[in-house]
């Protein structure tokens, strides 16, 4: 194997590609050839490192220096400074992050990286990189020294629970599938990460695909399956391509396929793509989709572990669950169980998004408080605004207000508070967010994504949406709140699958915690957050307006009039409240009243 003294990992995420990551890679290679360093420094492609906003970005190892914002013209300078002279090119360091910080932040930070440990650290397109990080060692260990029952016992001791959101004990699923008599069993990975605001699984698949493949192979050994499927949503083409390449590589060196590592254990893996149906993230709907049918859920029981894919016992776990498995085998059940709370063990990845300073992926031990996540890891609310609510669990989850900031993040506590763990989307909202509008947004989502098989979900979500739309349009009526509460109850208790049963959660939780906002909309015809168009007006402040005409030129309905260099005026009857004028105004002269 060739030895390189230094590795440059260039991010090829869509955002960085757009900013010319490939051109920078080419320029780097050219420059390394020109300076004679091509045999000492290796340039590799990797997935997101965390600074795409200033892309193209790259990590240089072994120093662990994070550079961003380079153009091809800067490459000769960088190569000379960093690789020839051995000095860090300070002007390309990620703003606000010095190398010292990066090294020091690890022990003081509240994050623990188990699932994300390799992300951005290794080349996802090269299986050797994964193997160098102890990859496939867990698989080797169990094949040589553990029986399938032993493997299940280790997972049981670790306390690992499903990371897809519901938190069913993983070992139990494996055991039930194993104990169902059959000649044919399947292992399925649910990579249909459809919750808006969640992208943890995409990241793992794109930057550490082998950890999922290894986890699935271990599961297959434990339950006695020989065929597996990864069901990935069509919105993630890069993840699908990375996974397919990884499967080919694993096959080519005997880590997948027939007689793995020379034993008589065989396991084949195939990627199946979804086609844009959210409900397919529900396990029975997902199986219908793999079978080639409409992705409609089936009643449970029978559970997939008894009667799943093509009627055979099937084990379905989420991407993150599988990615945890190799580490548990390697480091032991006790190590895993030492993290987290009594009932929720290990770590959980979250995708922080919304009005928060540090957006992106995080991985924290279970039991950490929402406050620590939002204000310590996420570095607080954007623009110094007030925290209003945090939404966890995707469209089936709920919104929690500031009274719940000290809630420990584990499966039981979140459910008790009226939300849920979900797959890990966490959307933080500031004071400018209207909670009725947010409830309406989620209802629009579930209503559209309802597969239509059962009536409570199909019709009930539509009725809720109609009421919410009416309230947002300023036509709320006395009795609407009571009607919403009744509908929520009915849908919850009568729907066939998790989508319907969870659909009322955003409405119920906002009704519980932000009832005053509903009342303001209905009785006072006011939107306290100034979001709902029917209840707001845009006005130009005479003092601040310079008469630059930008707003008038951009207004889609020509509602803004005024002479050049004179304060402008918005005609409220013509205005459609699209908000474009606020966006384009350079003087913050437009106010919402």
């Amino acid at each position: 194997m060739k030895y390189f003294r230094s590795h440059v990992l260039v991010c090829v995420d869509p955002e960085c590609l757009n900013k010319g990551a490939h051109q920078v890679i080419d320029a780097l290679n050219d420059e390394l050839v020109a300076t004679g360093l091509i045999n000492e420094v290796q340039v590799l492609e990797t997935s997101r490192i965390g600074g795409c906003a200033n892309g193209p970005e790259m990590m240089v190892y072994p120093e662990g220096v994070h550079y961003a914002g380079l153009t091809t013209d800067d490459v000769p300078f960088l190569v000379e400074e960093h690789f020839l002279k051995g000095r860090i090119a300070k002007k390309f360091l990620i703003p606000g992050k010095s190398i010292e910080d990066e090294e020091l932040s690890a022990p003081t930070s509240k994050e623990i990286r188990v699932v994300l440990r390799n992300c951005g650290q290794i080349d996802p397109e090269n299986i050797e990189d994964y193997i160098a990080e102890d990859g496939y060692m867990a698989l080797g260990n169990i094949l040589s020294s553990l029986s399938p029952e032993d493997v299940i016992e280790v997972i049981k001791k670790s306390g690992l629970r499903g990371r897809g959101g519901a938190g069913f004990p993983t070992y139990l699923k494996w055991q039930l599938t194993r104990n169902t008599p059959s000649d044919l069993r399947y292992v399925v990975c649910n990579a249909d990460e459809g919750d808006p605001g969640a992208f943890m699984n995409r990241r793992v698949l794109e930057s550490d695909p082998h950890s999922v493949i290894e986890g699935m192979t271990i599961a297959a050994y434990a339950i006695g399956a020989s065929q597996g499927y990864v069901y990935c949503r069509a919105e993630y083409p890069i993840a699908v391509a990375t996974l397919n390449r990884a499967i080919e590589q694993a096959k080519s060196i005997g880590l997948l396929g027939d007689n793995i590592l020379g034993t008589d254990f065989s396991f084949n893996l195939e990627v199946r793509m979804g086609a844009g149906a959210f409900v397919c993230g529900e396990e029975t709907a997902l199986m219908s989709s793999i079978e080639g049918n409409r992705g409609e859920p089936r009643p449970r029981p029978p559970f997939p572990s008894v009667k799943g894919l093509w009627g055979q016992p099937t084990n379905i776990n989420n991407v993150e669950t599988y990615a945890n498995v190799p580490q548990i085998i390697l480091k032991g059940a006790d190590w895993f169980a030492s993290m987290g709370t009594e009932k929720s063990k290990g770590t959980k990845t979250f995708a922080l998004a919304g009005d928060i300073n540090h957006t992106g992926l995080i991985e924290v031990p279970m039991g950490i408080s929402l406050r620590e996540i939002i204000f310590d890891v996420g570095m607080g609310i954007k623009n110094g605004k007030e925290f209003k609510a945090v939404q966890t669990g995707g469209p089936m989850g709920g919104c929690l207000p500031k009274e719940y900031l000290d809630l420990p993040v584990d499966y039981e506590s979140l459910v008790q508070a009226g939300s849920m763990m979900g797959s890990g989307g966490m959307i933080v909202m500031d004071e400018d967010t209207c909670m009725v509008d947010i409830a309406r947004f989620f209802m629009e989502f579930t209503q559209e994504e309802s597969c239509g098989k059962c009536t409570p979900c199909r019709v009930g979500t539509k009725r809720i949406l109609e009421i919410l739309e009416r309230i947002c349009d300023g036509e709320g009526r006395d009795g609407d709140i009571e009607q919403l509460e009744m509908l929520c109850q009915e849908i919850k208790s009568n729907s066939l699958c998790g989508l319907g049963q969870g659909a009322p959660n955003p409405v119920e939780s906002t009704l519980k915690h932000f009832r005053d906002e509903y009342e303001a909309h209905i009785y006072n015809k006011q939107c306290p957050a100034k979001v709902c168009k029917a209840m707001i007006r845009y006005e130009i402040m005479e003092d601040s307006c310079t008469g630059c005409t930008v707003c008038a030129r951009n207004c889609p309905v020509n509602a803004i009039t005024g002479e050049r260099r004179q304060p402008h005026l918005i005609d409220p009857d013509t205005c459609i409240r699209c908000g474009i004028c606020v966006q384009v105004c350079n003087f913050n002269a437009i106010e919402v009243v």
Binding site: P14, E15, L17, N18, C52, A53, E193, G194, D195, P196, G197, A198, F199, R202, A234, E235, Y236, P237, R272, M273, G274, A275, G276, A277, F278, S289, I290, E291, G292, N293, R294, G295, E296, W310, A351, L352, A353, G354, D355, T359, G360, Q391, G425, I427, M429, T433, F441, F442, F445, C451, N554, P556, C578, G579, I580, Q583, V584
Partner: protein, 169 residues
């Protein structure tokens, strides 16, 4: 779906020798797979760009499944379309972060510039506007996807430039 085979449009992919060859190749590569219907339809959508009624009938016959099954699958999933899209597709991410982050304003601007609604294609067949589900680039909200390029933190004022670039290509 009352169309019969003799009513197929002349320019339908099943009548076009080149596209017909692609369809047959996709069928041959995947017909042995369990659950082949989804795999075949995904590939067709990818390579041909849409799945016409005639294509659905053809696929059903080849895979030996009822036409109703194929049609049911095509209409269930939002990625499958039964009519051709424009040469370029612009998708607006409707994930929560993007919704909060200003995608509604971007859509408004795009509609204004092109004079078409979401789900429609410009008269010259060049650009289709669509809303799509979360593309998982939430930390870059608001996000639009131009063909296969994800563009994050997208300001409304850059919308006309995007259209101009596509028009020129």
């Amino acid at each position: 779906m009352v169309k019969t085979v003799d009513k197929i449009a002349v320019n339908d992919p099943v009548n076009n020798p080149e596209q017909r060859a692609i369809i047959d190749q996709i069928l041959n590569e995947n017909r042995h797979k369990p659950g082949a219907t989804m795999v075949v339809l995904s590939e067709l959508q990818n390579k041909i760009g849409y799945i016409s009624d005639a294509m659905q009938i053809y696929v059903a016959k080849q895979l030996e499944v009822p036409v109703s099954t194929v049609h049911g699958v095509v209409t269930f999933y939002s990625f499958f379309t039964t009519t051709p899209r424009g040469k370029h597709t612009i998708k607006f991410c409707m994930g929560t972060a993007c919704y909060v982050g200003g995608v509604p304003q971007l859509i408004e601007k795009a509609k204004q510039v092109l004079g078409i609604n979401l789900g429609e294609t410009t008269a010259d067949g060049n650009i289709t506007l669509e809303a799509c589900r979360c593309v998982g680039a939430c930390s870059q909200a608001p996000v639009i996807v131009v063909d296969d390029d994800v563009m994050g933190r997208f300001p409304a004022k850059k919308i006309p430039q995007v259209f101009k670039n596509l028009q020129q290509e």
